[in-house]
């Protein structure tokens, strides 16, 4: 079953969400900065919000179609939705929470399903506790179990794991994948963390300003950003505009000029004199305090350290070498090399560390 969604909803005078995408069975990540419309899309698919125009379908079942006047109410859609705040019922025990969506089933079948899901999410010992007596990770498991036990058509997850540490996150995602292995339901996972995109997703839909910017596998999408802002979001701190000097298909390289220096980047197919946009991650640039020699890397630029700043456990040096580069170093390397403001340095960049953005 494939989840297909076309959602058009005007959220304010300035912001209209207008997206169309498909989520095949497996985990599809909806990725974008906060305010890009991710949660609204999930609410529209689940029926909690009504799009102005559009169509939502899972397989052959149409859940919403503005043109045909179809709008299946929330309680009839059988789409599971785990919100960021989880919304466990505080007055019910874990078992009662999980059983909540199973009223149509007979007692025996209900018990069988609840027992199975308690086992597979490893929460059986917690069955008689109230939500207030659970840890963060336990609450997430109960919320997932409550959603999945109804055997939904599709599963929507709105950053349900973002508050957890990475190890717990990965374990819960493994449990989720195990659950989905034989069922093959579409799972939409909303996040703005690009670590989670690589860790959890099989496919990515990138949203920006209420539009689908790109979709594909995590590597396709995040390693060849087609857009400057997206490049920055995906961790390419250095993005430059340049001009193509020569393009050599036989060598697989393109030479281009950016701010007076020549760099060699992967072959782009652009002709001589064409504009080009290239990007490189701050962590992919080597920094040397003496001129290095005998390197395989094709780009050696000399420059001068303009400033240093601390950033989440690392040091980012701003180096002027024609264009200004951000270079990421460990604090230890920075100290032992004696990198400081005003120091002359060399930057080493492999051809394949560059991405041709446009």
């Amino acid at each position: 079953m494939i989840l297909s969604a076309t959602v058009n909803v005007r959220l304010s005078n300035e912001f209209t969400l207008d997206v169309r995408f498909e989520a095949p069975p497996g985990v599809t990540i909806l990725f974008g900065e906060s305010g890009s419309g991710k949660t609204t899309i999930l609410r529209a698919i689940s029926g909690l919000a009504r799009p102005d125009r559009g169509r939502v379908a899972v397989g052959d079942t149409v859940l919403f179609d503005a043109d045909a006047g179809i709008d299946v109410p929330v309680e009839g859609r059988n789409i599971a939705y785990v919100a960021q705040h989880l919304a466990l019922f505080p007055h019910l025990t874990v078992v009662d929470n999980i059983e909540y969506g199973l009223t149509q089933l007979g007692r025996a079948e209900r018990d069988r399903r609840v027992t199975a899901i308690l086992e597979s999410f490893r929460i059986a010992p917690l069955r008689h506790r109230k939500p207030a007596q659970l840890s963060g990770g336990e609450k997430q498991r109960v919320a997932l179990a409550r959603a999945l036990v109804t055997d939904p058509r599709a599963l929507l997850l709105d950053e349900p794991l973002s508050a957890l540490d990475h190890a717990t996150q990965t374990r819960i995602m493994d449990d989720l994948r195990a659950w989905n292995r034989e069922r093959r339901r579409p799972v939409l996972y909303v996040t703005h963390s690009h670590r989670e995109v690589f860790a959890l997703g099989e496919r990515v839909v990138v949203l920006e300003n209420g539009r689908v910017q790109m979709q594909g596998t995590p590597h396709e999408v995040l390693d060849s950003p087609a857009h400057h802002r997206l490049a920055t979001v995906a961790g390419f701190e250095n993005v430059f505009d340049g001009t193509v000097i020569t393009s050599r298909a036989d060598l697989g390289t393109t030479m281009c000029r950016i701010d007076g220096v020549e760099v060699e980047v992967p072959y782009s197919g652009s002709v001589e004199g064409a504009p080009i946009k290239v990007a490189v991650r701050a962590g992919d640039i080597l920094l040397a305090t003496q001129e290095p020699c005998g390197l395989s890397a094709r780009n050696l630029l000399s420059g001068c350290v303009q400033s240093l700043r601390r950033e989440a456990g690392s040091v980012v040096a701003r180096v002027s070498a024609g264009p200004g580069f951000d270079v990421r170093l460990t604090p230890g390397a920075c100290e032992s090399l004696g990198v400081e403001r005003g120091r002359d340095v060399w930057l080493v960049i492999k051809t394949y560390s560059w991405r041709v953005v446009a």
Partner: protein, 223 residues
């Protein structure tokens, strides 16, 4: 102490509370969740007994259910006796008079229930009725008890409406506050005092229950 009047008041208050649960819970649900733009008008009408003199309310109820009104005539035709100056007439007037004391605590409790829980319930396939029974009601328990206790106490203590609509028929419409007034008129201070003292003790216990419940709610909410 006028035991007959006391028992009559308790019976009246019990019937009124039951009726207010039946009428007040759906009405409060609507008040708490409706997005109708003129909702405030309905809220104003429900709250009217809080500010209206009881005699005014009683007067118009008497006009509405009296022997010459359509309601009064229909009642007489069906049951062979008038609605005014009867226990049933008193029940109708007391329901109107105590409506805000039930609906306002109910509605305020309902609207404090986290909307995310209501959405989660719908997502899990529950109808609105089931969501109300399984989620809204249990999480509003203290508000519902508060509403019932307040309207019970308010009905026990009413005077003006009873005099206007019910008159003063022993065993039928002579409620406890009317009985106290009668005793004072007859200079029987000892009996008035005994009955009044029972009401004072009752009022203190009621308030203790209401404040006790709400204190527990605050403690539970604190993380």
């Amino acid at each position: 102490m006028d035991v007959q009047a006391l028992l009559l008041s308790v019976r009246l208050a019990a019937v009124v509370c039951l009726a207010l649960l039946i009428i007040g819970l759906p009405l409060a649900y609507w008040v708490a969740f409706s997005r109708w733009r003129w909702k405030f008008l309905v809220e104003s009408v429900v709250a009217l007994p809080l500010v209206l003199p009881p005699t005014v309310l009683g007067f118009y109820v008497l006009m509405a259910i009296g022997a010459r009104s359509p309601i009064g005539q229909a009642w007489s035709a069906a049951f062979g006796q008038g609605l005014a100056f009867s226990f049933e007439g008193l029940v109708i007037a007391s329901i109107l008079y105590s409506l805000p004391f039930a609906v306002q605590p109910f509605a305020s409790a309902f609207s404090q229930v986290d909307r995310g829980l209501l959405e989660a319930s719908s997502i899990l396939g529950a109808s609105r009725l089931r969501t109300f029974r399984r989620i809204v009601m249990p999480l509003s328990r203290n508000g519902i008890i508060t509403g019932v206790v307040l309207s019970f106490a308010h009905t026990i203590g009413e005077f003006g409406v009873v005099i206007m609509v019910g008159g003063n028929l022993p065993g039928v419409t002579r409620t406890v506050s009317v009985a106290i007034y009668d005793d004072v008129q007859a200079l029987n201070y000892a009996r008035a005092n005994a009955t009044a003292l029972v009401l004072v003790l009752f009022a203190v216990s009621v308030l203790a229950i209401v404040y006790g419940l709400n204190r527990r709610a605050w403690v539970a909410v604190r993380p």
